[in-house]
């Protein structure tokens, strides 16, 4: 296994866009070539090594044999692991917006928190966040009909608003709470929320949203039966009927 570690040289005031921090981009390159990959800070185009200390194995290797370790605070670094198809990215602390954008495969593991737009338009692979995630986890881009289409996202903490907006496939699991409008316009993905949320499943047409805690349910959802999952009771709803949706919303019993 080839391993590369990246450490910020100093705290970033202006955020950095670093879609080149990805196993696929690193794979065919030597260490010195990796160091000269382009990153952007505002309107300044820089090399990776101008902003980060880059260390590790020199010899090119396939993406699936590559692990990128991010040491230190990457919360102002955007687009980490964008479009990655294989390999592993391990962040020891937090990462900035758009981590795992368009991800197709591999593992993106974040020990801290992830900012907004985590795994936007993801198609495959796995994203694991030990801390919290921001708004628009696994969503689509503005105006786009389709968000995440495949793969798996797990957040051990809480997530922000618009979780899995326009979800078309794949699964999202949030251990804590989710913000407003989780699973809006869900078209076929699976969302599990361990805590509570507000107005889940608005305009969902397919897919399943399970909320273990409390959820304010829209007036356009039809209450159906009570079901048991892993020994817990859930109230089942069908919706969103504004669009004749055939989605399933399950809310832990005991909530309103």
């Amino acid at each position: 296994m080839r391993s590369i570690t990246i450490t910020p040289q100093k705290a970033f005031c202006i955020s950095v866009e670093a879609e080149n921090i990805s196993p696929d981009k690193f794979a065919p390159l030597t260490l010195s070539q990796i160091k000269s990959l382009v990153v952007w800070q505002g309107n300044r185009q820089k090399t990776l090594s101008e902003l980060f200390v880059v260390e590790g194995d020199d010899a090119p290797a396939k993406a699936e044999e590559l692990t990128i370790r991010l040491i230190g605070d990457f919360s102002q670094v955007k687009r980490i692991g964008e479009g990655m198809t294989a390999g592993v990215v391990l962040a020891e602390e937090s990462v900035g917006m758009h981590a795992g954008n368009n991800m197709l495969g591999g593992l993106l593991s974040i020990s801290g928190s992830a900012d907004d737009w985590l795994a936007r338009e993801m198609r495959g692979g796995k994203v694991l966040v030990m801390g919290n995630a921001g708004n628009y986890v696994g969503s689509g881009y503005r105006g786009e009909k389709c968000g995440m289409r495949g793969g798996e996202i797990e957040v051990r903490g809480s997530a922000g608003a618009f979780l899995g907006e326009h979800l078309c496939g794949g699964s999202i699991r949030i251990a804590g709470d989710a913000g407003d409008f989780a699973g809006a316009a869900n078209q076929g993905g699976t969302i599990f929320i361990g805590g509570s949320t507000y107005l889940p499943g608005a305009e969902m047409s397919k897919g399943t949203i399970t909320v273990k805690g409390e959820a304010k349910v829209l007036p356009s959802f039809q209450k159906t039966e009570i079901v048991q999952i892993d020994g817990l009771a859930f109230q089942k709803y069908a919706g969103d009927l504004v669009d004749n949706g055939k989605g399933e919303l399950l809310v832990g019993v005991g909530s309103s």
Partner: protein
Amino acid sequence: MGGLKEMIIKGGIVYDPANGIYGEEMDLFIDQGRMALQAKGEEIDARGLLVMPGGVDAHSHIAGKKVNTGRIMRPDDARQGTEPRSAVCRPSTGYTVPNCYAMGYRYARMGYTTAFEAATPILEARHTHEELEEIPIIDKGALTLFGSNWQVKECVRDKDLAKLAANVAWGLCAARGYGVKIVNPGGGEAWGFGANVKGVNDPVPNFDVTPAEIITGLAQANEMLNLPHSIHLHFNNLGKPGNYTTAIETLDLLKDIKPSRMRQVVHVAHMQFSAYGGTSWRDFESKAPVIADYFNCHNHATMDMGQLLFGSATTMTADAPLEYGNARLTHNKWSNHDIELEESSGVVPMTYFRKMLVNAVQWAIGLELALLVNDPWKVLMTTDHPNGSPFVNYPEVVTLLMSKPKRDLEMATLHEQLPKRTTLAGLERELDWTDIAIMTRAAPARVLGLADKGHLGPGADGDVSIYNLRPDEVDTSLDHALVKKALANAMYTIKGGVVVSKEGRILAAPPGRTFWVDATVPQADADRLMIDLEEKFAKYYSIQIANYAVQDAYLPHANVIRAGLSVPQEVA
């Protein structure tokens, strides 16, 4: 712009059908931005290469409210096809609804130097001109909508042709427009209360007229004013199964009207969308052969294809009820915009699928029309950008027309029932470079009445496209991939004597001109008209008449063409 140097284009294989030149090796000269008999100066080596006049697009939605509405509602489209800013170029964004800069650059890259916006309401013409002015390089014009206008309908109802002509002239002047566009006549009015007209003889609500009367009235006024372009018509019932009968019925209304110039009496917009058989989408089929037959037997009409291609499109039209139908059918986002006293319009994103039979039939119909109409002067190549497909796909359309093997390859990927619904599979015709030069250059210029466009005779605009193709060597039937590639990025695009694009790279981005038509009418008719109009502004419009017309500030590169009653009939 400076840089109007002299220029010699050496040794190209020139297709200039308007001047009877069909693939001759010859030198071309440009002086002061215009084609000349002699010139010195910069030499461009075009030896053995395909040379044609700059392309002319007579029907494209490139500017104005609905185009911008398409952009605003589609950030998903804007992120396609982006190119960063460069020393010469502003940034480009978008595929079906590109930003203004991208449109200029992309037309220029393909060798096009002129494009006309197909539909502008008078009330919103200021916006259209703001955008047209921002489109670099190409020359432009905008057709003006009249088909649901209250004043027009009242003149038609009163059978006051002189006042109607005055109204058209006034509207063109107020909109700084180029010609008379009619979209689903009467439908815009009906849509004002959520309805539509069902055919040419269906009375228009609230006004005692029919679409047929509006169309013939405007056609007569158009000829009375001796306008360079004929009426430009989007039929009633467009986009509906079985609508070919409406098409024929409408064309028949106009066959006895005499043109005031050497041109058609009616230009039919995006014929593909009106050549539909069947009674519903289930038994939907092509009626292109019937339509083509009509065009082969009559000489008063021209059409543009409105070719549909698979993939992403954004439909936009002043036919607002059609767009509502599209939105309901596709469950897609829907924008609508009614324009008080004048029009309505709608915008709906669309994806055309290979495996969807209806889409495959629509694809075939456009091609059938172009291949079944014998005279290429009657068929302009368009995709009704961005309704059928974005204009950047013109090279694809050209290769489909020039290559039967290419069509067969495509058809093999389409719905298996396609051959039962269209005749395309049996059409052997393959167009040649003369046909293509006519359909993309000479004919659109003639149909629009642009004397200095679409040809390379002395005095014509110095707009020339040179492609990296050797007409004497390339087999356009077999080497369609090569042809497509060469057409996508002209070797050189020369606009007004300036090399604006070379092998896909934009070298210069001068502003283009905007054509509009100023038609004179007898003062008495204008005076009678003003009484009506002043009342309409006082009672119904939400703005003052003094703030209505487009000010000259919006056309810093105007090119005015005079027409009207006092202009002697042109003898071509």
